[in-house]
Symmetry: C2
Subunit: 334 residues, 2 copies
C-alpha cells in the first residue's frame, strides 16, 4: 500500500475539530504532504491550510484526496460522494480509513476503474501476507507498547521518528493503524489482517535494513486488553523490537471499553511485554516510559514523571509536554 | 456455521490413508454421522465404510458431501468438480476445509445458488464477529494448550468430550480449526478470523451455559510459536478456560516450521499460559498434561509419563495409549 503524495485533506462537514483528527495528524506530522484542505458548508474544523477547490488542488499537484474526518453514524453521505467523484475526475486517488469501504460505493468503484485511479481503504488490507518466520533481520526496531489502548503509542512513535531524523539518524515510522497509514502514506492495518498472518505482516512491514537504521513501529492495543491482546502479541513477535517504550495514561480507572478490567501495574506490564518480545528478540529491553499526562495539572504531571522515573529507573517523559529528546538520547547511545 | 448431517465422506483419489485424515477424524469421532464413503479410481484410502454412489447416499439420507481428503498441490481437479456437481444435483450441500474455496469455482457456485444448496468453506469465515467483552460467562470451559503446534490438542479435546459424555457429564467439543469444524459440524476457524475479532469469535463460540456444562475448546498454536502466538493469545482470552491441559510431543527438537526455535520447558510453558489465561479467568489452572508419545517405545513412554507426572504434580497421560479417564476423573471432582 503506497499512497501518492501530496494530499488534499477532505474535512467534509466535520462537526468539530476532533472529528477531523486524522487530517490534523497528517498536518502535524507530514505538513509538507498537505497542500490544502477541502471543507464543505457547515464544517467546524479548520487546519489553517489553504482552502482549495478540487481543480486548484489538482493544479497545485495534489495526488490523493484523503478523507481526514470521522463521519457521523459511519455512513458516507451523498454529498461526500459527489466531491469524491469530482476528485477522481481531477486526477486524484482517494484514501480513507473508514469502516465502510470506498470500493463498495458502486459509483466510486466504477469511476475509479474507468479513469485508472486507486481507492485506498486503509482499514481493509488487500495484500496476501506470509506466515512469520521469526528469523532475525538486520537493522534496529523500536516499538511502543501500552498499559492500555489509546494512550499515546502513535504519537510517541511519530515524535521519536521526527526527533531522530532531526539529529540525522536513520529512522522510519512504520504504520500499523489507519491514521498512521494515512500519515505515512503506507503501512499495514494489523488489526484487520487475518489472524494467522499478524506477525508475518509485521515482518513484511519492517524488513532488513542498515545496521544503524531504526524502524519506529506503531504500537497497537495492549497485552492486558482482553479484546485485542492477540493483535499486540503478534505485533510484538513480528516487530522483534530491540527497544520498547511503555506508554501509559495515569488517570484511567479501567481498560478502555472494559469496565471490569483494571490497568496493570507498570512493572508487571513491562515484564509481560519483555517476556513476549524475547521470544523473537532475546536482547529486547525497555528504553523509556512515555506518559500521557494531559489530564494532570503541570505540577501533578511533574511529580508523577519524577516518581515514575525513580521507581523504574527508566527515562520518563510526556512526549507532548517535554518532547522525546531524552528518549532519543538513549537511542543515540544504543 | 452449521453443517447438516449425516455426511457422505469424499475420499477422491487419495494417495494414501494419511491424505484422508480429515475423513478418518470424522469416522473416529462422529461415526454416527458418516453413512458412507465415495472413492474415485486409484483411491488408496479406505475407511471401512460402505462405498456409496451419490444417488444411494442421497437415498440413505446424506445431507452433505464432506471433502475429507487433502488434495495434492492444493488444486481441486476437474474430476472432483464433476462429483461435487452431481452431489448438488442429488440434494446435498458440500463442505471442505481446503485452501482454495469451493465458492470460487464458478460452476459449483452457480449450481449451488440455483439449487439452493450451501457450500461450506470452513477455513473461510463469512460471519461478522463482535469485539470481545471479557465478561465472564456461566458454565465451565477446558482448553488444551501446547508447547508447539500439532502436538495433539484436537485429539485430546475430542477424547475428553467423548469420555465425559460416556459418564453422563454435559460436554460439547467447540471446534476452532478446519478438521474440528468438519468433525463437529460447526465452529469458528480462529486462525482465519480478522485479528481484532479473535477473542470475540471465541466468546461467541463458547457462550453462557449451565453451571455444570463443559465446553471442551479445541486449542490452536502455542504461546511459544513465533508465527501463531497471537492466535493462541486471543483464543485463550476468549475461551476464559477454567481448566487447561498442556499438550506436548517430547521428541520434537524445534518448534514446528521454525528450525531456530527450541521448545519451551513444560513448567515455563504452563506459567506463560496461566498468566495469559488469568487475565480473563483468575481461577484458571492446569488439570493435566497430555503427551503425544507415539514416537517413543512403550517402555520409554511409560518412563517419560511417570517422570513428568512426578516433576509437575499433574496427572500425565498419553490420550492415545492410556485414554483420558484420569483427566476426566479430575474434571468430575471440579
Amino acid at each position: 500500500m503506497h499512497i501518492q503524495t501530496p494530499y488534499l485533506l477532505f474535512l467534509g462537514d466535520a462537526a468539530d475539530a476532533l472529528a477531523a483528527k486524522v487530517a490534523q495528524g497528517i498536518c502535524d506530522w507530514r505538513p509538507e504532504q498537505a497542500i490544502g484542505q477541502y471543507r464543505m458548508s457547515g464544517c467546524q474544523a479548520d487546519l489553517g491550510l489553504p482552502d482549495l477547490s478540487l481543480e486548484a488542488a489538482a493544479r497545485a499537484g495534489a495526488r490523493t484526496l484523503v478523507i481526514g474526518v470521522a463521519n457521523r453514524g459511519g455512513v458516507i453521505s451523498d454529498a461526500w460522494v459527489e466531491v469524491m467523484l469530482d476528485a477522481l475526475e481531477q486526477g486524484m486517488d482517494i484514501a480513507a480509513g473508514l469502516h465502510n469501504q470506498l470500493s463498495e460505493i458502486p459509483a466510486l468503484a466504477e469511476k475509479a476503474a474507468r479513469l485508472g485511479r486507486t481507492l485506498f481503504d486503509v482499514r481493509h488490507p488487500t495484500t496476501q501476507f506470509p506466515v512469520a518466520t521469526g528469523v532475525r533481520r538486520s537493522g534496529k526496531r523500536l516499538l511502543p507498547v501500552g498499559t492500555d489502548c489509546s494512550c499515546g503509542k502513535m504519537y510517541t512513535a511519530l515524535a521519536i521518528e521526527k526527533a531522530m531524523r532531526q539529529r540525522g539518524m536513520k529512522a522510519d515510522f512504520r504504520a500499523t493503524g489507519q491514521t498512521g497509514i494515512l500519515v505515512a502514506g503506507g503501512g499495514v492495518p494489523v488489526d484487520a489482517v487475518v489472524a494467522d498472518f499478524i506477525s508475518g505482516a509485521v515482518e513484511t512491514l519492517t524488513p532488513e535494513n542498515d545496521p544503524d537504521h531504526w524502524d519506529i513501529v506503531e504500537g497497537q492495543g495492549s497485552l492486558f486488553h482482553a479484546s485485542f491482546a492477540g493483535v499486540t502479541t503478534g505485533l510484538i513477535h513480528g516487530a522483534q523490537p530491540d527497544a520498547l517504550v511503555l506508554c501509559h495514561e495515569p488517570t484511567r480507572t479501567h481498560m478502555r471499553g472494559l469496565p471490569d478490567f483494571p490497568l496493570p501495574e507498570l512493572g508487571e506490564c513491562m515484564e509481560a511485554n519483555l517476556r513476549t518480545a524475547r521470544l523473537t528478540n532475546p536482547d529486547a529491553r525497555f528504553v523509556a516510559i512515555a506518559v500521557n499526562s494531559s489530564k494532570l495539572s503541570p505540577a501533578d504531571a511533574k511529580a508523577y514523571l519524577e516518581e515514575t522515573e525513580a521507581r523504574y529507573g527508566l527515562t520518563t517523559v510526556d512526549p507532548v509536554r517535554q518532547g522525546v529528546e531524552r528518549i532519543v538520547d538513549e537511542l543515540a547511545r544504543w
